[in-house]
Assembly symmetry: C2
Homo-oligomer: 128 residues x 2
DNA sequence: AGCCGGCACTTACTGTTCGTAAGTGCCATT
DNA sequence: AATGGCACTTACGAACAGTAAGTGCCGGCT
């Protein structure tokens, strides 16, 4: 599991690197949550909206379109009228999400330490 | 390595969940790159700026302050005048970065597929 | 001796993105 | 007949990111 940064993450430091953009797409606030939700099972648009508390329809639609364009998510129109759309992970998406889930659960585990650190820093340098 | 989403990623779907915010901090465009750079070795401010192509001083400073506050990065003033500041990963930060590096290298590996997918989608539904 | 560049930032301004709210057309339920 | 849900899209104000310039001090170059 050890990795050398130099080899693996070479061109991500370069300005014009396209993987930077792709990375932003999958790590975006709502994309991350949408992918996590789809890791459970396929969802309809409205189901995703309810699952991801606080997301607006605008941002959810936008995130899903980006994820579809980059090939992580598949969008299937099961019925035009009445509208019924199903979103599911592609094979690439299914291979991607374990990394995201690992990251999410890691950060969740460390939240006590994060809170402690914030409190300690804010003691010295109060916010605002 | 298999994970059930339901157990691990329970509260990240809730609106007021603080881990959402912490997650955004580490997955932010510049934070991600700063952490990756610091995975190699400690860096000075100017070294990071040069390493991370395209980052502005404003955003780098802001990202580093956020990462420091959340306890992923340690900031050490080695000399006030002339200014010499060293940034390094904390223990928590060092435990975090492997997840980020794994994600980055995964996405880099899949970039051909991403480009192919974009081209296919743009064929049907042209951008703009 | 005087000028230039680098150090690690901060501040002012501007453009892009985000979030909120409302609109769309159609159908099923009350 | 009116209401709500479906899957979005559009308009607009607010928040945020990016650009440029400023800060004070110092070392090196000419």
């Amino acid at each position: 599991m050890e990795q050398t940064v130099e080899e693996l993450v070479a061109d991500v430091f370069r300005r014009a690197c396209t993987s930077r953009e792709a990375l932003e797409h999958v790590t975006g606030k709502w994309s991350l949550l949408a992918l996590s939700a789809l890791a459970e099972s396929p969802h309809r648009f409205g189901e995703l909206r309810r699952r991801i508390e606080g997301v607006s329809e605008r941002m959810l639609a936008q995130s899903l379109q980006t994820l579809e364009r980059d090939g992580w998510v598949h969008r299937e129109v099961r019925s035009a009228i009445p509208p019924h759309v199903e979103y599911r992970l592609t094979e690439d998406g299914a291979a991607l999400v374990p990394h995201l889930l690992a990251l999410i659960s890691f950060v969740e585990d460390r939240m006590p330490a994060v809170h402690a650190s914030r409190a300690a820093v804010d003691e010295v340098r109060p916010p605002r």
